[in-house]
């Protein structure tokens, strides 16, 4: 009875390892801040208080968390099938681009058709891009890690080419005026393809919310996708098979489960999740495709998934934490007049990942040790 209780205590500890990792990472960050010559308490105070003390802060946090929920779910879902989809970056580019293309091409469609169509296109683009490494893994046994990374760079080049092909009309006039445009972007999507902002929704029910805040309906799509991911993984036969392949492909094959089919399916679903980033960045925010909108989202999704223990609920929470760090980091950068670069947040995120994997192992060892003694 007593032993069982102790093991429970440790399995609780195992569940909260991400929290321990975050605290450790913040300590490392504090050391870096001290080395730069700033006051860590002051910096962290700015970082967190601005992010969570008011509605605008929360809105900004959720806006930044939304794409990370998508890419985090993408990584987590593939991971459940034993796959490392580190190609979220490329899947985001292609999904968002396809969505944009639909948005500025079928401009005559009404919103109730165009919006679902754009969402579908975002998912389809990501799915398509992830299908390539999925098929190569399933049919040829090529490890997905290198292929997904290569697909990222190919996607970057391909979308760059396409952006120039569908570049915004004002680019021409700017060039004519002798202004060299540094960051090319596409035409805008139709009004009917745009997702309402939360401000619009809150206004209709008379809740006060800053009109300039960018958080939009895509956040709810992200939450919906998280629920969908949970449902697929733990409530359906598909999820049973995907997880079986992830845990033990040989046993799955023996049990009549097609390993190849489930690998491709898991990659396609994972890619679709990543592609949906387009709903937030394009349909809800910039209304056009521009590469800098997406940079780093795929990779941060890996950190989010790890921190969230590859569970949809964990992913949502981790994405919100990263939303706080990202937004707070930007604020800190402004408050310290650039003395603390935003990239501090990237370093923090990497340190979190390292500590998550290490603290998992430490807790595991503690459990083993404890069991031995009882």
């Amino acid at each position: 009875m007593k032993a069982a209780k102790k093991i429970d205590y440790y399995s609780f500890l195992e569940k909260i390892t991400p929290l321990i990792a975050v605290i450790f990472a913040l300590l490392v960050g504090a050391i870096v801040i001290v080395i730069i010559g700033e006051d860590p308490i002051y910096v962290y105070k700015i970082l967190f208080s601005n992010a969570i003390s008011n509605r605008d802060g929360w809105g900004n946090v959720l806006f930044r968390a939304t794409p990370l929920i998508f890419t985090g779910l993408a990584v987590a879902f593939a991971f459940r099938c034993g796959l490392f989809n580190i190609g979220g970056e490329g899947q985001v580019y292609i999904g968002a681009f396809l969505s944009t293309w639909v948005g500025f091409t079928f401009t005559s469609l009404p919103a109730f058709i165009l919006i679902p169509l754009c969402i579908l296109a975002a998912a389809a683009g990501g799915a398509l891009w992830a299908a390539v490494p999925g098929i190569l893994k399933a049919k040829k046994g090529v490890h997905e890690v290198i292929v997904t990374i290569m697909m990222n760079w190919i996607a970057a080049s391909l979308t760059f080419f396409l952006v120039l092909k569908y570049k915004a009309p004002e680019t021409e006039t700017m060039i004519a005026a002798g202004v060299k445009q540094m960051i090319p972007h596409t035409k805008e999507i139709a009004q009917a393809a745009r997702l309402p902002r939360l401000y619009d929704l809150f206004k209709s029910i008379n809740i006060d919310f800053p009109s300039y805040n960018q958080v939009n309906v895509s956040f709810f799509i992200a939450i919906g996708v998280a629920i969908l991911a949970y449902y697929i993984l733990w409530k359906t036969n598909l999820g049973y098979e995907i997880r079986a392949v992830g845990y033990n492909p040989l046993a799955a094959e023996y049990g009549g489960i097609s390993v190849a089919k489930n690998i491709v399916l898991a990659m396609v679903i994972s890619g679709a999740f990543a592609g949906l980033v387009g709903t937030n960045e394009v349909m809800g925010f910039k209304y056009r495709w521009r590469q800098e909108l997406f940079t780093g989202l795929g990779f941060n999704g890996i950190a989010v998934a790890l921190l969230g223990k590859n569970h949809p609920l964990g992913v949502v929470l981790a994405a919100i934490l990263f939303g706080i760090l990202n937004y707070g980091g930007a604020i800190v950068n402004i408050f310290t007049e650039g003395r603390i670069p935003r990239e501090l947040i990237m370093v923090l995120q990497a340190v979190i990942v390292i500590f998550v994997v290490i603290s998992d192992e430490i807790v595991k060892r503690l459990i083993v040790k404890r069991r031995k003694l009882t």
């Binding site: 490392f84 890690v145 947040i345 990237m346």
Partner: protein, 314 residues
């Protein structure tokens, strides 16, 4: 048209493109031969690229810049070792973390130290070897030979020496035998009194040193500047070269040269065809995927590659 593409300059530039891939790929050989997958090579290269330029510009000595890149590479290799050898973390995850860390830390410091994300190299290494004769004097054959073999950065010659030494170390010395056995069957090596943990640490730190060196070549010798994400996936292409080269030093060097040819060719073709530059830029990445697909069934990784060593079971 062909004559204008396949000349001595073309081969020399292929070699230059191949050097960082070959060095990082060799790092992969050491690491994976010992049983540790190191996809952090990408990030280590990036950090090496930044460090070498930063140190060179500060103390005006490119040799010390390169040394600093190697030291930072060893340090990152050590971190990878601590997470996946001592703490038995997932090796891919640890590698991804190192890549994330490198992306952040390089830009972080380039803002902090230089206030910009693109840093020009103030000095680079001298060219060693014979000077290239003018077209008038000497035969064009002799000129070609000099361009291909005897007119390079010292790092090119150093790379060749490193490869020969690595081959001898891996296949002829006790350390090499232990390295190979640790990557194939660590339990067997352990029962024979071989310190599996120690060998793996040495291998991973060596891979870090080589990737750091590769990064310094990339920024200091090839581009003459540092810009964020300058490694551009080369750490992963290097892994593809390692796989295609069947985890051997010379095989990896050959595969890296193949990538060098491919990229150099794409660059040349750009000037004579109407293919948009974006498609030319895809060539190395497409080539890597193609190479991986064709290596399947032919190239078998060390049996314990990617598996943490567990001594006590149960």
């Amino acid at each position: 048209m062909f004559g204008s593409i396949f000349n001595a300059d073309f081969i020399a530039s292929s070699i230059r493109i191949a050097i960082p891939l070959a060095l990082a790929g060799l790092g992969g050989v050491f690491s994976e031969r010992s049983g540790v997958i190191n996809i952090g090579l990408e990030g280590i290269m990036l950090t090496g690229a930044f460090t070498s330029i930063a140190v060179t510009n500060f103390i005006q000595n490119p040799w010390l810049g390169i040394l600093a890149a190697i030291i930072i590479g060893i340090f990152l290799g050590l971190i990878h070792g601590i997470t996946c050898i001592t703490f038995k973390a997932n090796q891919i995850v640890s590698g991804v973390a190192i890549n994330l860390f490198a992306s952040g830390i390089t830009v972080f410091f380039s803002w902090l130290l230089f206030n910009e994300t693109q840093i020009m190299a103030k000095i680079s290494l001298p060219i060693w070897g014979l000077s290239i004769p003018n077209l008038g004097e000497g035969s064009s054959f002799l000129r070609s030979i000099i361009i291909i073999f005897a007119h390079h950065s010292p790092l090119v010659y150093l790379t060749i020496i490193i490869f020969i030494l690595s081959h001898l170390i891996i296949f002829r010395t006790p350390f090499g035998l232990r390295l190979r056995s640790v990557g194939e069957y660590p339990q067997a090596a352990d029962t024979m009194g071989v310190n599996v943990i120690k060998i793996r640490y040495i291998a991973v730190m060596t891979s870090g040193a080589l990737a750091g060196l590769a990064g310094s070549f990339l920024s200091l010798e090839q581009a003459h500047f540092f810009v964020k994400e300058i490694s551009g996936g080369r750490g992963f292409i290097a892994l593809a070269a390692m796989i295609f080269g069947k985890w051997t030093p010379f095989g990896t060097a050959g595969a890296a040269l193949l990538f060098g040819f491919g990229e150099a060719l794409a660059i040349r073709l750009q000037s004579v065809t109407a293919v948009p530059v974006q498609f030319i830029n895809m060539v190395p990445y497409l080539l890597a995927i193609f190479v991986l697909v064709s290596a399947i069934g032919r190239a078998i990784p060390p049996a314990a590659d990617g598996i943490p060593y567990e001594k006590e079971v149960g």
